[in-house]
Symmetry: C2
Subunit: 491 residues, 2 copies
């Protein structure tokens, strides 16, 4: 039922409104109409905020209007609609009459339950969008986030840190999921939207707009079905020419497709055809939201890879072995180190280093070993990517000492501070060396999960750099960077 927009819909009123109206605000904190108003105010939205409630009254410091028609003309661009389905059309007409150009409809009852009256409301929405010249998101969606204007127009958490990843999702919960990963990793979000039933605006409409959105560096989409496969392909292809697009497709199996039919009413698609279509369009496909965010994070932070050659720098042998195994199942190469690089490494590494890739310093590192080696590797023309393993181990031991009964001893404080400083320096070297050379440097350690305050992962997070928790995830992120580079070179 996607409207035949001949060109990209203008979603600026949706994502950068000068003012927002919550229609159907509620004084009950368990209701959507309370939570969304609360989140808009508390997350620091700087534009004008209005709220309507049939009974008027004050809510969270805002004097409620009794209808959207009372909003001063031209003061708001977006109405977030929480009223019952039957009342939505009236709200939209009033909104249009005061110059509001975009709506997000949270209300359900638009045919998602297959009932006839709901379907009629859905049809009416599509017609209204066209008649009123409004862009209409939802219905039956959680809301939207737009960090450039500090807008958290959704009835759920979290409000993620600001950054370049934009999220479009046919599942509100998986939009939240991606934002939870943003919160955990520090790799931030520009825009996020739960498409709901996508009655008027579909996933492809959002992708088309985000492709031109300067705040968006990478697009992450979750979808269960597409209304018009050709249009979706053209949209993704055009977007991929501008910036990376990562797609998660739900319902690839028979059981998944049945679950998707129940969830979003999507029809089953032939997954091999869909997969080939995505590849041809230049998108990267991930199996779930965690993997997708991992790929999007690498793509948002790093340059694409110029070739498949990866060097591992590790203080921990076992991690190197498992990551080599994981990489062997990817198009990437655990590169052979050229002679001149071996010679340069010999100058900065301890004598007992592994003399090959993985570059295992076997615990023999001193103050500058790791930063020097990172810069050396990233600057070498034959190295397309660097993976740092083993960061944070010393600080993890320091954490045991900090929490122990001897933590007051000067000697213990001194050694803990040294190790913590070192792990911070390693993280800073990753940020610096990848920025100055353009070579992606990724880090992986499960400490990002078990000890998020560890100075290694924490420093990466502060810089908005991802830190992967498994060899598989790190390799998948490199594979996305490599595929992106190849796509740009071949197209």
């Amino acid at each position: 039922m996607t409207l035949p927009f001949s060109q990209t819909a203008d979603l600026r009123p949706l994502f950068e409104p000068a003012g927002v109206v919550v229609a159907g605000a509620s004084s009950h904190p368990g209701k959507f109409g309370f939570a969304v108003l609360h989140n808009i105010i508390t997350c620091g939205y700087q534009g004008r905020v209005f709220a309507t409630n049939r009974n008027g009254g004050e809510l969270l410091g805002i004097e409620c209007l009794t209808s959207v028609a009372e909003v001063p003309a031209g003061q708001a661009d977006l109405v977030y609609v929480c009223v019952p389905a039957a009342a939505v059309a009236q709200v939209l007409r009033e909104a249009a009459s005061v110059g509001i150009r975009a709506a997000f409809i949270a209300s359900s009852g638009f045919g998602e339950g297959q009932d006839e009256q709901g379907a009629a409301h859905g049809l009416e929405l599509a017609t209204l969008a066209s008649e009123l010249g409004m862009v209409i998101a939802g219905p039956n969606g959680q809301g939207l986030v737009s960090t450039p204007v500090s807008l958290c127009a959704q009835f759920v958490g979290p409000f993620p840190p600001a950054g370049g990843v934009s999220i479009v999702s046919q599942s509100g919960n998986l939009a939240s999921g991606a934002m939870n990963y943003a919160t955990a990793s520090g790799v931030g979000v520009a825009r996020a939207i739960s498409a709901g039933n996508a009655t008027c605006l579909g996933v492809d409409d959002y992708i088309a707009w985000l492709a031109d959105d300067p705040a968006t560096t990478t697009i992450l989409a979750y979808l269960e079905g597409v209304a018009d496969a050709r249009r979706f392909y053209d949209t993704v292809k055009a977007a991929s020419a501008r910036k990376p697009v990562v797609v998660v497709k739900g319902g690839t199996s028979d059981d998944g497709a049945r679950a998707a039919a129940s969830h979003t009413g999507s029809l089953a698609t032939n997954d091999r055809i869909f997969d080939g279509m995505l590849r041809q369009a230049g998108a990267w496909r991930s199996p779930d939201i965690g993997a997708a965010f991992g790929a999007a994070a690498a793509l948002a932070v790093h340059q694409p890879m110029q070739g498949p050659n990866v060097a591992f720098l590790t203080t921990a042998g076992g991690w190197g072995v498992l990551t080599a195994d994981a990489m062997a199942q990817s198009p990437l190469q655990l590169m052979e180190l050229p002679d001149d690089l071996m010679a340069s490494l010999d100058e900065v590494l301890p004598p007992r280093w592994s003399q090959g890739n993985p570059i295992d310093v076997a615990g023999g590192e001193t103050r500058d070993t790791i930063p020097n080696a990172l810069h050396l590797l990233a600057a070498h023309p034959s190295v397309d990517g660097v993976l740092m393993l083993g960061m944070g181990i010393q600080s993890n031991t320091a954490a045991l000492m900090r929490g122990g009964q001897f933590s007051q001893l000067d000697d213990i404080d001194r050694i803990c501070s040294f190790h913590e400083r070192q792990d911070r320096r390693y993280a800073e070297a990753i940020v610096e060396a990848s920025a100055t050379t353009g070579t992606p440097i990724l880090a992986a350690t499960e400490l990002a999960l078990s000890n998020p305050g560890n100075p290694g992962p924490a420093t990466l997070r502060e810089h908005g750099h991802p830190c992967y928790t498994s060899p598989t995830d790190a390799v998948a992120a490199f594979a996305a960077l490599y595929a992106r580079g190849r796509h740009l070179r071949l197209s």
Copy 2:
């Protein structure tokens, strides 16, 4: 070079020593000989602790002896050795002379660098173990952990919570990795050991002892090679008959095998043969430590599955779809719900539930919906496993309110407390219903990663229950429970 123990080596002196000596304790907090003594004391080991240092003196409240020979006879069972390789033999002879029956050797220089002198030291160790009748772990290892006696005899962190998973690893760092997962998940550890060069005691010796260890409910092993494939097979098979064994094998690819040769000197093995051998022995194989710990955690906490039928209970549609897709690639079934179960569910679920599996309550849950449905599902004879999705979402929204500018309002506190209490109840229902029915109930949400304080995941953690962060991980854990049940039925 594994010694031909005709039967299981007695590792009680290693894992449950009445006293421990740190030989080569150091006053420099950056040295192994300081860190291990510190960790033994600070983690609360209740046995007698001795330390030796050539110069004597006091260290962390302990009066150092100048040699192990000075330890009062019969007062210690274990010596943790940090002295240089050349001095190790002397320490071991002295240890034996005062009745010490086990040694962990952290020192390197025993042939891991392929040097001749080191290899000679290694041979000497093997001979000494036999001559002195000692069990000798290492050399070149990080140490061991034994939570039943609060022993943290390792120079690194973490000291994990107590529990039933025991860890044997040819990589010290990956032993730490598994313990980091234990710390993050709350699914605790019984014993953990870094096998180092495994000169005397190999992975199979540890597995053989752990198979009979009452504190160990599940064994997790990381290995890169086995000295005697037949002995390894027999050991794992015998252990699997008693309790679940989870194995990660590093070096399965050519690159990984080269990295393993450099790391532990292991020879490449034919991976398909190794895989078949593990399967026949009844072990579960995982690709990395995170997945292995996820499987071990399920196996440690839950009963094996009696069949492949899994029911999903979800408040979030998208998660159900992706998990159904992941499950379609496993031997598990997204089961069809039998009529009587459908009828019972109809009584406890809101009218708009999905009327099928995944059981999506579509946000319509009230106070008792989820606990009631969990108990109903787990108690039904046709359900072999239950997966709970969407736990913690409301508390994640509550977290936004708790951190916001209106957090002092009574209404907000009330609704947040309600949601937090509900998520706690869901977690408690998982713990209770799986305990009373024997049906495994797993939970999955990325909030366990992004918001570990969320009452849903936090309550599971407090009860020592795992909470998975991705659909793939949850499905892999179910697959391990299913394989375990099948192994027990067929053998």
